[in-house]
Every structure is written in C-alpha cells, then in structure tokens.
Symmetry: C2
Subunit: 286 residues, 2 copies
C-alpha cells in the first residue's frame, strides 16, 4: 500500500458534486454499446486500468475522474496524469457512483482511437512475430483475459474479428487489467481480411482446436515441430462453446491441440490461448 | 446438435408446474451460501455441468430437473440419469426460471459429500502426483477455471483453503464446466494442515509467484530444474490482487515465476495456474 501523500490540487477544477448533471449522465451512458459507438469513447474503470492508460496511452484519455480519497490512495496516477497534461476532475463519492459502480474511485473516458479496420491492422502487423486472433469469443472476461495473456507472452497485437465480443465493453476493459493500452487491439475486420493481412507479413497461421492432430507439447519437444512453433505466428482462437468455425479451421496451416490428461472435455478458451501463446513465445525465444 | 429423440417419461412424475411451491423456493434458495451450508447441498446449472455430474458422481445428485424442451434437446442426460436411478423431474419453463436463471433448462441439486476436512484431504492425496492449492482466490470465475484447468492437466486434486471463494457457489460450479465432479475438490482446511498433508505424501511444494527467482520455462529446459518440475508436486496459487501471502510463500520449497515478456504487470491467476500445472504435467510425462 502506498502511503497517502498530500496532493497539489491547485490546477484542478472544483469538485464535481452534482450526480444528476449532464456530464455525469454522458459518462455513465458509455456503459451502453450504442453510446460508445456513437461517441467513439469508452470507460476505463479502476486504478489498475487507468494507471496503465495514463502511462502508455495518455493521448487516448479525454477525461480522468477521481474521488478525493482515491486520489490520495493513488497519488501516482494523479501526478502522472498532471504531467501528461490530462483533464483531471475530482468528484464526490456520489458522482463517482453515478458514473460507474466498478471504478473504485478511479475512472477515465478514453477515445477508441485508430484501432479499427484494414489500415490499423496493417500498422499493427508491421514486424509482428506473435499475434492472437479471436474469431468468435463472446464472454467479455475471456476476451479481456486473452488480451492480458497475449500482452504477458509478448504478443505484438490482438485481433478481435467481427462477431467477437466488443473490445471496449466495460468488462472486457477491466479484464485486460491495463493490457488494452499495452499492445494494439484491432477490431472491425473479418476473417478473410485478417488472414490476408497476416499472410502478407509472413506469419504462419496456427489454429488452437481439440480436433488438431498435432499435440502442442509434442510439437515443442520435436525439432521439426519446434521449428513450427518458433516461426512468427498468428493463433486463431475459437468461441467458448463451439470452438473454431470450419471456415477458420480451413485457413490454418496447422491445427494444434492441447492434450487433455484428465476427464475435462475441453479447456476454457482463455486458458487454451495462454498455453498456445506461451508455447510460441518459449519456442521463439529458444 | 443431437437430434431430438422421443423420450420415455413413463416413470417420471407429473410435470412440476407451480413456480410458487415450497420445493421451488427451497431449490432457488440454494443460490444463497447460508442455505447451501445449512442443507449441505448446492446447485449444478446447465447441461454441461449436469451431464458430468450424472456421469461421474451420480451418488451426489439428489434431484434432477429438466424442462420438457431441454429433455428432448439432451436425451442422453435424461437416459443416463434414469439408468442411474436418479430422481428426475420435468418442469415447466416458469418453474425452471423460478429455480435458476442460468440453467438452460437443466438443473441438479447435489450433495456436498465428503469433500471437507482432514480425512477427505488425506483420501484425496493418496498416490497424488499433481495438486493445485488455492490459497486465497476470491473470484468465482477464476476458481472454477482453475479447477477445470487442473482437471485438464491431469491433476489428482484441488484444495481450496479456508479464506478462498466457496467451492459450491453457483458461478464456481458453472465455471468448472463439470470438472468439479471429475476430481476431488477439498475445502475446510487451513494452510498449515494442507502443507502437512502434502508433505506427508511426499509432494514437493511449489509456489507460483512473480517474486520467484526460478523462471518456469528455464526450469523446464534445464536438466536440474526439469527434475524439479517432474517431481510429484503441489502448486500454491495466490489471490487475484495480492498474490501469495508471506506465510504461504515461506512454506514453498521453490518459488517459481512465469516470465512476463510484454508490458503486463502480472497474469490472471487462472492463466498462471494453467501454465504451472501444464508445465508440471509435461515434465512428469517426459
């Protein structure tokens, strides 16, 4: 726990104390997909996510809101935001509660930025060696956890294909624990477009699926298949209930399975993603 | 999709159609921890979990409830339950909705069984080679996902130490996707008791923590440390926000970290658990 530190609020405006103001309603409204898409902005809730956004993507932050008690618990966030010249607002606990119930006193409104479509995808893939492609994940917690695992495994980008859960929904953002601001997370592209872009930069397309006949751990152990995993790669990851669709499976160079040693029918998609991405990271590093 | 099959309901009672009956209230009440603990029973919601419970632990199922449409979508569950001599009940959609909103028409009431305390722990550890120990996980989705990953990695048991999320809360049960019925999930023991029992059966105690100075992947690669991972082991896993408590860390033979190759501060605890358990499974198999 960082000890509470006196904060210089000199340059901060008055404390926002009206929970029924238009501003509060506008911020709270970003919990709805339609409002996010109309305004091109989304919510970052909680100290961890906001800290990473302030540090790694300050240009995307439009407004930072903190309660006084949160500002004294997290003086570093306030100071970094100030140094970056961000719009900072102190709020009462009531105003914060009216804007978000999951913010723990720390909330940012961020711009979606240039993360959608073919051009954004091409920029993200320049020089990429490891990419995760979500082809149909629907659960926000899974999608966020995959983005976080991809970041940890040193991936260069994550692509959420059209038909996946929306990348800026509050629960996805929270589950990424800030990783949403560490690497490009590209949306608004379809399967064919993504495959084309991935092949254009020379990435091998691997599919993670229980129907694969290459066991990922045998692959790592053998020289031939170890070569497979050490190549710059993109991993296609499926839907929670249905796995990969046939059209995705058919576009992969190799379909790779994770061995199930107990009685489980399958792995959670985020668990499978982490095992695959780390297997590639390990092989590429070796 | 399994085609709908005519089902022989001859031996089934009349369709339960009163959503305000005492029975319905009693079942719905098991969503509350206090009621679960008082009655020693819990809910298994959804076809996947119920199918696994019927198949692997029918002796724990006290009652099975299915709507008519779910019974025709999942004739196998009904038939297996009948063969096992379970109490089966058809319900109207209204009755099902009053009992659970997450059951997709398939619900079981199960007995907690002999899964708590020192004796249950000793039985579960007989001959064990791989065990996961949750020392303070609070998020039900994480706990369930770890149980599922432990099952997939071939672990012999999972221990949820006192202070962890409750193993039979509806979201934990759903997140295990049936794995709760595949391997012993032991509760009601504290850290010291668990460490004693693990050591008594000769297990090495490994801790997964970012403060570890042994990198799990280097450990796998080196002969010496590979020997470490191939030994029969129990993995201590920490809390989502705070990691492992000092008293848990200090009881480990080796503290092992997962390398973070990108900018993420840490891994989700369920992701870390899966990487650790599969690393052990791989080393033990090699």
């Amino acid at each position: 726990m960082t000890p509470a530190t006196p904060i210089d609020y000199d340059d901060a405006p008055q404390i926002l104390d009206n929970p029924t103001s238009q501003r509060v309603a506008r911020v709270a409204g970003l919990a709805r997909r339609q409002a996010r898409s109309k305004h091109g902005r989304f919510l970052v809730e909680g100290p961890q996510g906001v800290r990473e956004a302030v540090r790694w993507a300050p240009e995307r932050i439009l407004d930072l809101y903190m309660t006084e008690s949160a500002a004294s618990r997290h003086p570093g966030i306030w100071a970094e935001a100030r140094a970056a010249g961000l719009y900072r607002h102190l709020t009462t606990a009531e105003v914060m509660a009216a804007m978000s119930t999951d913010a723990q006193g720390v909330l940012a409104v961020a711009a979606m930025g240039e993360s959608s479509g073919a051009d954004a995808l091409a920029r993200a893939l320049e020089g990429a060696r490891l990419v995760a492609v979500l082809t149909g994940a629907q659960d926000p917690g899974n999608a966020g956890t995959i983005i976080r695992a991809a970041d940890a495994a040193g991936a260069d980008a994550v692509i959420l294909l059209r038909g996946s859960v929306e990348a800026t929904s509050p629960k996805v953002v929270r589950s990424t624990a800030g990783s949403l601001f560490h690497l490009p997370v590209i949306t608004g592209v379809g399967l064919e477009e993504a495959i084309g872009a991935l092949r254009a930069v020379g990435l091998t397309i691997l599919a993670a699926d229980s129907r694969g006949d290459t066991d990922i751990f045998e692959a790592e152990g053998s020289a031939a298949a170890g070569g497979l995993l050490s190549a710059p790669s993109a991993w296609l990851l499926g839907n929670e209930a249905h796995g990969l669709a046939p059209e995705a499976l058919s576009r992969a160079d190799t379909v790779i399975s994770i061995p199930i040693l107990g009685r489980a029918e399958s792995l959670n998609v985020a668990t499978a993603a982490a095992l695959c991405l780390y297997a590639s990271a390990r092989a590429q590093r070796a």
